[in-house]
Symmetry: C2
Subunit: 204 residues, 2 copies
């Protein structure tokens, strides 16, 4: 099957990345599609587009709507949700770790744990201790993983990956990339998986 | 059944309003939900939010993505599509007519004809003759309908309705409103219909 790999581009501060992260493994497994987890930072992409902040902060009506939409999505898909008391949260340390080790088997669990800390438990994922807790919960050595991304070459991988995201034409998160075909938004995950299976009418 | 009415808020210049308009009647009929067609103008809402133009014009990466996404959606749902050579197009005359007569039975056909002119036949819907052609195709008298919205009280209904859209918290199109619950985007049409049927987990 052509293109049975899907790149999942996400940002820990991004509200719609949360249900995507929690849904993707089961859906991809059912579809027979391999997922490549690709964390990046939205901030530089937003700045390059001229946004002063998250569009959900800059445009309050859109922000109010987004939280209700997330609540509905989580209720419908059985994902726990509590509106974070701060938004968007700093996500650099977690993203550096997820990026530095992105193809290791424990990373999906770490990613889901950190997303859940932010969007279900209202914990500050910008706090090293919260990141450490999520690493520990995955059976990883928190001090070792955190220390590893304090210096290059691992530290700068996130910046390089964020630059690649911009070069690929990404402008938001979550995004899914299949054979150069871009899908944006949690609500496009099923479409992206269908594309990875070659099942979209435009592919026939 | 509580709330089995759905307000469909749309703008003729809006790309994602197009598949929503062409899909809604059949889906709503199957769901047993009555649709209230509610045209409005996005321009004043975008201006109030601080956008200089359509977000798809202001943010080019998002605009490029949108056209491909629309192409995929139309292909998947069997809706004809040709990328308009101008975007966004002036939509005031068509919107004034659709608004002035919004609850008359010919309006859904007129709305779909005008959307199709813009997004499948690349016709300038800002041109009175294109609007007239769509009225004629619906069996309506084009001169009479066009003349009717040149003066008050019918002319100003669109402005009043656009102000109501802003007051309701709308910020984009298409939007669906069910018992005060807001859904934004063509991809939320099915969710809005489920809500109108009282089938969402948050309603139980």
């Amino acid at each position: 099957m052509a293109g049975c790999c899907l790149e999942f581009w996400f940002e820990f501060a991004s509200s719609y990345s949360y249900p995507a992260a929690l849904r993707i493994e089961q859906l991809a497994r059912s579809a027979g599609v391999r997922v490549l987890w690709r964390p990046f930072l939205l901030g530089p992409l937003f700045q390059a587009q001229g946004y002063a902040s998250s569009p959900f902060v800059q445009f309050p009506a859109k922000g109010r709507y987004m939280w209700r939409d997330i609540e509905r999505i989580c209720a419908r898909t059985g994902i726990p949700f509590r509106k974070p008391s701060a938004f968007p949260r700093t996500s650099v340390l977690g993203a550096r770790i997820a990026c530095a080790f992105q193809d290791e088997p424990w990373v999906p669990r770490f990613v889901c744990a950190l997303f859940t800390a932010n969007f279900a438990h209202d914990r500050d994922i910008g706090d090293d201790r919260v990141v450490a807790d999520c690493l520990t919960a995955c059976g990883e050595s928190a001090p070792a993983r955190i220390a590893a991304v304090q210096t290059d070459p691992l530290k700068s991988r996130l910046r390089t990956q964020t630059e690649r995201a911009a070069a690929l034409g990404l402008f938001g998160a979550p995004s899914f990339l299949v054979d150069g075909e871009l899908f944006w938004g949690n609500d496009r995950l099923e479409d992206a998986l269908a594309w990875a299976r070659g099942e979209h009418p435009l592919q026939r």
